[in-house]
Symmetry: C2
Subunit: 138 residues, 2 copies
Amino acid sequence: MKLTQREWRSNCPINFALETFGDLWSLLIVRDMLMYGKSTYGEFQKSEEGIATNVLADRLVRLEREGIITKSLNESDRRKATFRLTQKGIDLLPVLLEIILWSAQHNSKTSAPKEFVEQIRNDRDGLTAKIIKELKSY
Amino acid sequence: MKLTQREWRSNCPINFALETFGDLWSLLIVRDMLMYGKSTYGEFQKSEEGIATNVLADRLVRLEREGIITKSLNESDRRKATFRLTQKGIDLLPVLLEIILWSAQHNSKTSAPKEFVEQIRNDRDGLTAKIIKELKSY
DNA sequence: TAAACTTACTTGCAATTTGCAAGTAAGTTT
DNA sequence: AAACTTACTTGCAAATTGCAAGTAAGTTTA
């Protein structure tokens, strides 16, 4: 019965991740939530990279399906949904931090602040705790 | 003059990475090279995920263009090219390790060996040094 | 030495995804 | 009530993906 059974290309952990968020946009949404506290469709759409409306809608649906975010109604404005990271989503922070380090090393035009990069290197745990604390305060 | 100037959606480090390897296949190739010492087209093609021939060819060209791998002729069999990771490619190891940790946590069917996951957690530097040493011995 | 085999792609094609921009329905503000 | 805002949806063309056959170059075998 294939109705609810998802096929995986392999059980390799790298492949699992790629099948979960291996596209040009998903991690940008996670970034916006983890780093900038964004939580609505309109906020994500305003990001500099300029995601298309249909792709944004699609990715939010996917990320919710993958258990990385949850979607709830905004009570003060019922046109809006509020998206929040699950623990599974928050657990992507170390991945993002390593990606930032890699990019800072290899992209001469990176907008990653030097102090931020140094902090990832020198106080990973402190920074992680700070980001998560800020996240929970939104 | 736009001939050699590449347009980036933004200078954000996450975006830089996604524009470099944000697809379903690129990191699988890097995995095969870092973890399994694969170095030829045929070896990559045999991976369990079953990449299409045209996509594999395309990704190898891209990874080379991005400076993550280099391609050289195999002198003992001139039909084959040998691909090797550059330092930029090797520097993706910490990203891969964090992805493995994340997946091990969130994929109940992961094929990542428990001892390997424990080693990532307990001796990151030792493991990194070991993988790189093995890499250079291929 | 020629035939058979292997290797790394290339090609043809259909399905799917992406990106642009206009459209739409529901909700809020004026 | 009209105007505006929000979150999508839609139409469409271009790009990408995946399947599988095809092709050229190189190697092995008889």
